[in-house]
Point group: C2
Chain length 168, copies 2
Amino acid sequence: MTVAHDFSLGSVEVALTPAQRFAEFLQARGKRVTRQRQVIVDHVSSRHEHFDADQLLDDLRKTPEGAGASRPTVYRTLAEMVDAGLLHKMVLDGRAVYEHDYGYPQHDHLYCSVCQRLIEFSSDELVKIRDAVAASHQFRATGHKLIVTGICLDCRTSKAKSRHQDRV
Amino acid sequence: MTVAHDFSLGSVEVALTPAQRFAEFLQARGKRVTRQRQVIVDHVSSRHEHFDADQLLDDLRKTPEGAGASRPTVYRTLAEMVDAGLLHKMVLDGRAVYEHDYGYPQHDHLYCSVCQRLIEFSSDELVKIRDAVAASHQFRATGHKLIVTGICLDCRTSKAKSRHQDRV
DNA sequence: TTGTCTGCAAACACTTTGCACTTTT
DNA sequence: AAAAGTGCAAAGTGTTTGCAGACAA
Protein backbone atom coordinates (compact mmCIF):
# COMPACT_ATOMS: atom_id res chain seq x y z
CA MET A 1 0.00 0.00 0.00
CA THR A 2 2.33 2.72 1.21
CA VAL A 3 5.44 3.00 -0.84
CA ALA A 4 8.50 3.35 1.28
CA HIS A 5 10.69 6.36 0.76
CA ASP A 6 8.26 7.97 -1.62
CA PHE A 7 7.97 11.54 -0.46
CA SER A 8 6.34 12.88 -3.59
CA LEU A 9 3.59 15.34 -2.91
CA GLY A 10 1.83 16.66 -5.95
CA SER A 11 4.45 18.40 -8.03
CA VAL A 12 7.08 18.26 -5.34
CA GLU A 13 9.64 15.68 -6.29
CA VAL A 14 12.30 14.53 -3.93
CA ALA A 15 14.23 11.82 -5.71
CA LEU A 16 16.29 13.95 -8.03
CA THR A 17 19.63 12.71 -9.15
CA PRO A 18 22.55 15.07 -8.76
CA ALA A 19 22.59 15.52 -12.51
CA GLN A 20 18.96 16.52 -12.48
CA ARG A 21 19.40 18.87 -9.60
CA PHE A 22 22.30 20.47 -11.37
CA ALA A 23 20.37 20.83 -14.60
CA GLU A 24 17.57 22.54 -12.71
CA PHE A 25 19.97 24.85 -11.03
CA LEU A 26 21.55 25.79 -14.33
CA GLN A 27 18.29 26.32 -16.11
CA ALA A 28 16.94 28.42 -13.29
CA ARG A 29 19.87 30.70 -13.80
CA GLY A 30 19.78 30.89 -17.55
CA LYS A 31 22.92 28.82 -17.73
CA ARG A 32 23.32 26.04 -20.23
CA VAL A 33 23.44 22.33 -19.77
CA THR A 34 26.55 21.61 -21.73
CA ARG A 35 28.15 18.31 -22.45
CA GLN A 36 31.12 19.16 -20.25
CA ARG A 37 29.00 20.08 -17.28
CA GLN A 38 27.02 16.88 -17.65
CA VAL A 39 30.12 14.76 -17.87
CA ILE A 40 31.55 16.39 -14.78
CA VAL A 41 28.41 16.07 -12.66
CA ASP A 42 27.95 12.47 -13.65
CA HIS A 43 31.53 11.65 -12.93
CA VAL A 44 31.64 13.43 -9.60
CA SER A 45 28.34 11.91 -8.53
CA SER A 46 29.41 8.39 -9.24
CA ARG A 47 32.82 8.43 -7.68
CA HIS A 48 34.87 8.96 -4.60
CA GLU A 49 33.81 10.84 -1.56
CA HIS A 50 36.69 13.29 -1.38
CA PHE A 51 38.67 14.63 -4.28
CA ASP A 52 40.43 17.71 -5.55
CA ALA A 53 40.35 19.41 -8.92
CA ASP A 54 43.46 17.71 -10.15
CA GLN A 55 42.30 14.23 -9.31
CA LEU A 56 39.03 14.90 -11.00
CA LEU A 57 40.74 16.19 -14.08
CA ASP A 58 43.00 13.16 -14.25
CA ASP A 59 40.06 10.83 -13.83
CA LEU A 60 38.03 12.61 -16.45
CA ARG A 61 40.80 12.36 -18.97
CA LYS A 62 40.85 8.61 -18.62
CA THR A 63 37.27 8.41 -19.83
CA PRO A 64 36.21 8.76 -23.46
CA GLU A 65 33.61 11.47 -22.74
CA GLY A 66 35.83 13.56 -20.57
CA ALA A 67 39.02 13.10 -22.50
CA GLY A 68 39.14 16.70 -23.59
CA ALA A 69 38.22 18.22 -20.26
CA SER A 70 40.03 21.42 -19.53
CA ARG A 71 41.25 22.61 -16.20
CA PRO A 72 39.37 25.91 -16.24
CA THR A 73 36.10 24.19 -17.01
CA VAL A 74 36.62 21.75 -14.18
CA TYR A 75 37.20 24.58 -11.76
CA ARG A 76 34.29 26.55 -13.11
CA THR A 77 31.94 23.62 -12.92
CA LEU A 78 33.02 22.64 -9.44
CA ALA A 79 32.30 26.16 -8.28
CA GLU A 80 28.86 25.94 -9.84
CA MET A 81 28.19 22.64 -8.16
CA VAL A 82 29.13 24.19 -4.86
CA ASP A 83 26.70 27.00 -5.58
CA ALA A 84 24.09 24.46 -6.50
CA GLY A 85 24.56 22.81 -3.14
CA LEU A 86 25.76 19.57 -4.65
CA LEU A 87 29.27 19.78 -3.33
CA HIS A 88 31.03 20.96 -0.28
CA LYS A 89 34.33 22.65 -0.64
CA MET A 90 37.03 22.78 1.97
CA VAL A 91 40.56 23.96 1.80
CA LEU A 92 43.21 21.73 3.32
CA ASP A 93 46.86 22.63 3.18
CA GLY A 94 46.22 25.14 0.49
CA ARG A 95 44.31 22.96 -1.90
CA ALA A 96 40.59 22.73 -2.38
CA VAL A 97 38.99 19.41 -1.55
CA TYR A 98 35.43 18.64 -2.51
CA GLU A 99 32.96 16.19 -1.10
CA HIS A 100 29.41 15.30 -1.94
CA ASP A 101 26.66 17.11 -0.17
CA TYR A 102 23.29 15.50 -0.50
CA GLY A 103 21.81 17.56 2.25
CA TYR A 104 22.89 15.14 4.92
CA PRO A 105 23.73 16.61 8.26
CA GLN A 106 27.21 17.91 8.52
CA HIS A 107 29.73 15.43 9.74
CA ASP A 108 33.07 15.82 11.41
CA HIS A 109 36.14 13.72 11.81
CA LEU A 110 38.18 11.87 14.35
CA TYR A 111 41.72 11.87 13.11
CA CYS A 112 44.08 9.19 14.36
CA SER A 113 47.53 10.68 14.61
CA VAL A 114 49.09 7.24 14.40
CA CYS A 115 47.49 5.60 11.39
CA GLN A 116 46.08 8.86 9.97
CA ARG A 117 42.71 7.31 9.49
CA LEU A 118 39.67 9.59 9.40
CA ILE A 119 36.56 8.41 11.21
CA GLU A 120 33.39 10.29 10.46
CA PHE A 121 30.82 11.22 13.04
CA SER A 122 28.10 13.77 13.50
CA SER A 123 26.55 15.20 16.59
CA ASP A 124 23.47 17.33 16.93
CA GLU A 125 24.63 18.32 20.36
CA LEU A 126 27.75 19.71 18.84
CA VAL A 127 25.83 21.87 16.43
CA LYS A 128 23.65 23.16 19.23
CA ILE A 129 26.64 24.22 21.23
CA ARG A 130 28.21 25.70 18.16
CA ASP A 131 25.17 27.83 17.54
CA ALA A 132 24.87 28.80 21.18
CA VAL A 133 28.46 29.94 21.29
CA ALA A 134 28.07 31.80 18.02
CA ALA A 135 24.94 33.49 19.25
CA SER A 136 26.66 34.64 22.40
CA HIS A 137 29.15 36.41 20.19
CA GLN A 138 26.42 37.83 17.95
CA PHE A 139 27.87 35.72 15.20
CA ARG A 140 25.79 33.94 12.59
CA ALA A 141 27.23 30.49 12.05
CA THR A 142 26.82 29.00 8.62
CA GLY A 143 29.01 25.98 9.06
CA HIS A 144 31.98 24.58 10.84
CA LYS A 145 34.88 22.26 10.58
CA LEU A 146 35.97 20.09 13.46
CA ILE A 147 38.78 17.65 13.55
CA VAL A 148 39.38 15.75 16.75
CA THR A 149 42.88 14.45 16.99
CA GLY A 150 43.76 11.38 19.00
CA ILE A 151 44.48 7.70 18.79
CA CYS A 152 42.09 5.08 17.57
CA LEU A 153 41.41 1.79 19.28
CA ASP A 154 43.45 -0.27 16.86
CA CYS A 155 46.50 1.83 17.33
CA ARG A 156 46.16 1.81 21.09
CA THR A 157 45.75 -1.94 21.40
CA SER A 158 48.63 -2.69 19.10
CA LYS A 159 51.17 -0.37 20.57
CA ALA A 160 53.02 -3.32 22.03
CA LYS A 161 54.00 -4.27 18.52
CA SER A 162 56.67 -2.24 16.83
CA ARG A 163 55.86 -0.22 13.75
CA HIS A 164 52.80 -0.02 11.63
CA GLN A 165 52.48 -0.69 7.97
CA ASP A 166 50.53 2.24 6.53
CA ARG A 167 52.11 5.33 5.09
CA VAL A 168 54.67 6.86 7.36
CA MET B 1 52.36 42.64 25.02
CA THR B 2 55.14 40.25 25.68
CA VAL B 3 53.98 37.28 27.68
CA ALA B 4 56.47 35.11 29.42
CA HIS B 5 56.02 31.40 29.72
CA ASP B 6 56.17 30.63 33.41
CA PHE B 7 56.73 27.31 34.99
CA SER B 8 58.49 25.86 37.97
CA LEU B 9 61.57 23.75 37.92
CA GLY B 10 61.95 22.37 41.37
CA SER B 11 61.99 25.39 43.59
CA VAL B 12 63.40 27.58 40.87
CA GLU B 13 60.95 29.86 39.11
CA VAL B 14 61.68 30.05 35.41
CA ALA B 15 60.23 32.73 33.17
CA LEU B 16 61.43 32.67 29.63
CA THR B 17 60.32 35.27 27.15
CA PRO B 18 59.37 34.11 23.67
CA ALA B 19 62.59 35.63 22.41
CA GLN B 20 64.57 33.63 24.94
CA ARG B 21 62.74 30.46 24.15
CA PHE B 22 63.38 30.99 20.50
CA ALA B 23 67.05 31.67 21.07
CA GLU B 24 67.34 28.45 23.04
CA PHE B 25 65.59 26.56 20.32
CA LEU B 26 67.91 27.94 17.68
CA GLN B 27 71.05 27.32 19.65
CA ALA B 28 70.03 23.79 20.45
CA ARG B 29 69.87 23.17 16.74
CA GLY B 30 73.06 24.87 15.77
CA LYS B 31 71.12 27.67 14.18
CA ARG B 32 72.07 31.26 14.56
CA VAL B 33 70.43 34.05 16.47
CA THR B 34 70.40 36.65 13.76
CA ARG B 35 69.18 40.18 13.88
CA GLN B 36 66.29 39.36 11.56
CA ARG B 37 65.10 36.45 13.63
CA GLN B 38 65.24 38.56 16.76
CA VAL B 39 63.33 41.39 15.18
CA ILE B 40 60.67 39.00 13.98
CA VAL B 41 60.23 37.19 17.30
CA ASP B 42 60.07 40.43 19.20
CA HIS B 43 57.60 41.88 16.81
CA VAL B 44 55.39 38.84 16.71
CA SER B 45 55.49 38.48 20.47
CA SER B 46 54.49 42.02 21.12
CA ARG B 47 51.66 42.38 18.67
CA HIS B 48 48.44 41.07 17.39
CA GLU B 49 47.04 37.74 18.26
CA HIS B 50 46.35 36.53 14.73
CA PHE B 51 48.20 37.52 11.64
CA ASP B 52 49.43 36.25 8.33
CA ALA B 53 52.81 36.53 6.67
CA ASP B 54 51.86 39.52 4.61
CA GLN B 55 50.55 41.53 7.51
CA LEU B 56 53.65 40.78 9.48
CA LEU B 57 55.85 41.84 6.61
CA ASP B 58 53.97 45.08 6.18
CA ASP B 59 54.20 45.81 9.88
CA LEU B 60 57.86 45.00 10.02
CA ARG B 61 58.62 47.36 7.20
CA LYS B 62 57.08 50.22 9.12
CA THR B 63 59.62 49.80 11.88
CA PRO B 64 63.23 50.96 11.68
CA GLU B 65 64.68 47.58 12.68
CA GLY B 66 62.58 45.55 10.34
CA ALA B 67 62.60 47.95 7.44
CA GLY B 68 64.63 45.65 5.27
CA ALA B 69 62.78 42.48 6.13
CA SER B 70 62.40 40.12 3.24
CA ARG B 71 59.46 37.92 2.49
CA PRO B 72 61.45 34.68 2.41
CA THR B 73 62.99 35.37 5.78
CA VAL B 74 59.61 36.08 7.29
CA TYR B 75 58.28 32.79 6.01
CA ARG B 76 61.35 30.91 7.10
CA THR B 77 61.29 32.41 10.57
CA LEU B 78 57.59 31.81 11.05
CA ALA B 79 58.12 28.16 10.20
CA GLU B 80 60.91 27.98 12.75
CA MET B 81 58.75 29.56 15.39
CA VAL B 82 56.09 26.99 14.71
CA ASP B 83 58.71 24.29 15.13
CA ALA B 84 59.83 25.94 18.33
CA GLY B 85 56.30 25.78 19.65
CA LEU B 86 55.93 29.53 19.85
CA LEU B 87 53.31 29.83 17.19
CA HIS B 88 50.35 27.89 15.93
CA LYS B 89 49.72 27.81 12.24
CA MET B 90 46.40 27.26 10.58
CA VAL B 91 45.33 27.54 7.01
CA LEU B 92 42.17 29.45 6.18
CA ASP B 93 40.98 29.94 2.64
CA GLY B 94 44.37 29.01 1.35
CA ARG B 95 46.29 31.47 3.46
CA ALA B 96 48.35 30.64 6.50
CA VAL B 97 47.34 32.38 9.70
CA TYR B 98 49.50 32.32 12.80
CA GLU B 99 48.68 32.83 16.42
CA HIS B 100 50.67 32.86 19.62
CA ASP B 101 50.96 29.70 21.61
CA TYR B 102 51.68 30.41 25.23
CA GLY B 103 50.40 27.10 26.41
CA TYR B 104 47.01 28.58 27.12
CA PRO B 105 44.09 26.24 27.37
CA GLN B 106 42.65 25.21 24.07
CA HIS B 107 40.38 27.67 22.37
CA ASP B 108 38.52 27.67 19.11
CA HIS B 109 37.52 30.24 16.56
CA LEU B 110 34.62 31.91 14.90
CA TYR B 111 35.75 32.87 11.44
CA CYS B 112 33.94 35.65 9.61
CA SER B 113 33.89 34.81 5.95
CA VAL B 114 33.38 38.45 5.05
CA CYS B 115 36.04 40.35 6.97
CA GLN B 116 38.10 37.25 7.75
CA ARG B 117 38.32 38.21 11.38
CA LEU B 118 38.91 35.47 13.92
CA ILE B 119 37.05 35.58 17.19
CA GLU B 120 38.26 33.28 19.92
CA PHE B 121 36.09 31.32 22.26
CA SER B 122 36.30 28.25 24.40
CA SER B 123 33.62 25.98 25.66
CA ASP B 124 33.77 23.28 28.26
CA GLU B 125 30.55 21.89 26.89
CA LEU B 126 32.21 21.45 23.58
CA VAL B 127 35.06 19.49 25.04
CA LYS B 128 32.65 17.26 26.92
CA ILE B 129 30.81 16.44 23.76
CA ARG B 130 34.04 15.91 21.94
CA ASP B 131 35.13 13.40 24.52
CA ALA B 132 31.77 11.71 24.58
CA VAL B 133 31.76 11.27 20.84
CA ALA B 134 35.32 10.06 20.86
CA ALA B 135 34.54 7.56 23.59
CA SER B 136 31.61 6.19 21.66
CA HIS B 137 34.05 5.42 18.88
CA GLN B 138 36.59 4.00 21.28
CA PHE B 139 38.83 6.83 20.30
CA ARG B 140 41.11 8.64 22.70
CA ALA B 141 40.97 12.34 21.97
CA THR B 142 44.07 14.36 22.65
CA GLY B 143 43.00 17.61 21.08
CA HIS B 144 40.88 19.18 18.45
CA LYS B 145 40.56 22.04 16.06
CA LEU B 146 37.25 23.73 15.44
CA ILE B 147 36.54 26.63 13.18
CA VAL B 148 33.02 27.92 12.99
CA THR B 149 32.42 29.82 9.79
CA GLY B 150 29.83 32.52 9.51
CA ILE B 151 29.32 36.24 9.50
CA CYS B 152 30.08 38.55 12.34
CA LEU B 153 27.78 41.26 13.61
CA ASP B 154 29.69 44.10 12.01
CA CYS B 155 29.56 42.55 8.60
CA ARG B 156 25.90 41.76 8.90
CA THR B 157 24.89 45.23 9.98
CA SER B 158 26.99 46.93 7.36
CA LYS B 159 26.24 44.78 4.40
CA ALA B 160 24.67 47.70 2.57
CA LYS B 161 27.99 49.46 2.55
CA SER B 162 30.75 47.95 0.54
CA ARG B 163 33.21 47.55 3.31
CA HIS B 164 36.40 45.60 3.45
CA GLN B 165 37.61 45.54 6.97
CA ASP B 166 41.16 44.73 7.81
CA ARG B 167 41.61 41.25 9.03
CA VAL B 168 43.26 40.53 12.35
C1' DT C 1 87.57 31.42 9.32
C1' DT C 2 83.61 28.60 8.66
C1' DG C 3 79.34 27.59 7.77
C1' DT C 4 74.73 29.52 8.31
C1' DC C 5 71.55 33.22 6.84
C1' DT C 6 69.84 36.68 3.98
C1' DG C 7 67.77 38.93 0.04
C1' DC C 8 66.95 38.78 -4.62
C1' DA C 9 64.73 36.79 -8.26
C1' DA C 10 62.87 32.95 -10.08
C1' DA C 11 60.32 28.83 -9.32
C1' DC C 12 56.24 26.73 -7.41
C1' DA C 13 51.47 24.81 -6.85
C1' DC C 14 46.95 25.91 -7.27
C1' DT C 15 43.37 28.71 -9.23
C1' DT C 16 41.41 32.32 -12.09
C1' DT C 17 40.89 35.19 -16.21
C1' DG C 18 41.08 37.38 -21.15
C1' DC C 19 39.85 36.22 -25.45
C1' DA C 20 38.62 34.08 -29.91
C1' DC C 21 36.12 30.19 -31.13
C1' DT C 22 32.40 26.68 -30.30
C1' DT C 23 28.03 25.19 -28.73
C1' DT C 24 23.45 25.38 -26.60
C1' DT C 25 19.16 27.46 -26.82
C1' DA D 1 21.35 34.10 -34.70
C1' DA D 2 22.18 35.28 -30.06
C1' DA D 3 24.13 34.34 -25.87
C1' DA D 4 26.70 31.63 -22.96
C1' DG D 5 30.52 28.15 -22.57
C1' DT D 6 34.94 26.29 -23.77
C1' DG D 7 39.94 25.75 -24.21
C1' DC D 8 44.16 27.84 -24.51
C1' DA D 9 47.57 30.50 -22.65
C1' DA D 10 48.69 33.82 -19.56
C1' DA D 11 48.05 36.10 -15.25
C1' DG D 12 47.24 35.84 -10.29
C1' DT D 13 47.84 34.28 -5.33
C1' DG D 14 50.45 32.75 -1.60
C1' DT D 15 54.64 30.28 -0.50
C1' DT D 16 59.20 28.17 -1.38
C1' DT D 17 63.87 27.72 -3.28
C1' DG D 18 68.66 28.40 -5.65
C1' DC D 19 72.37 31.03 -5.07
C1' DA D 20 76.00 34.63 -4.27
C1' DG D 21 77.09 37.78 -1.05
C1' DA D 22 76.55 39.00 4.19
C1' DC D 23 77.20 37.78 8.75
C1' DA D 24 77.09 35.01 13.42
C1' DA D 25 79.92 31.90 15.98
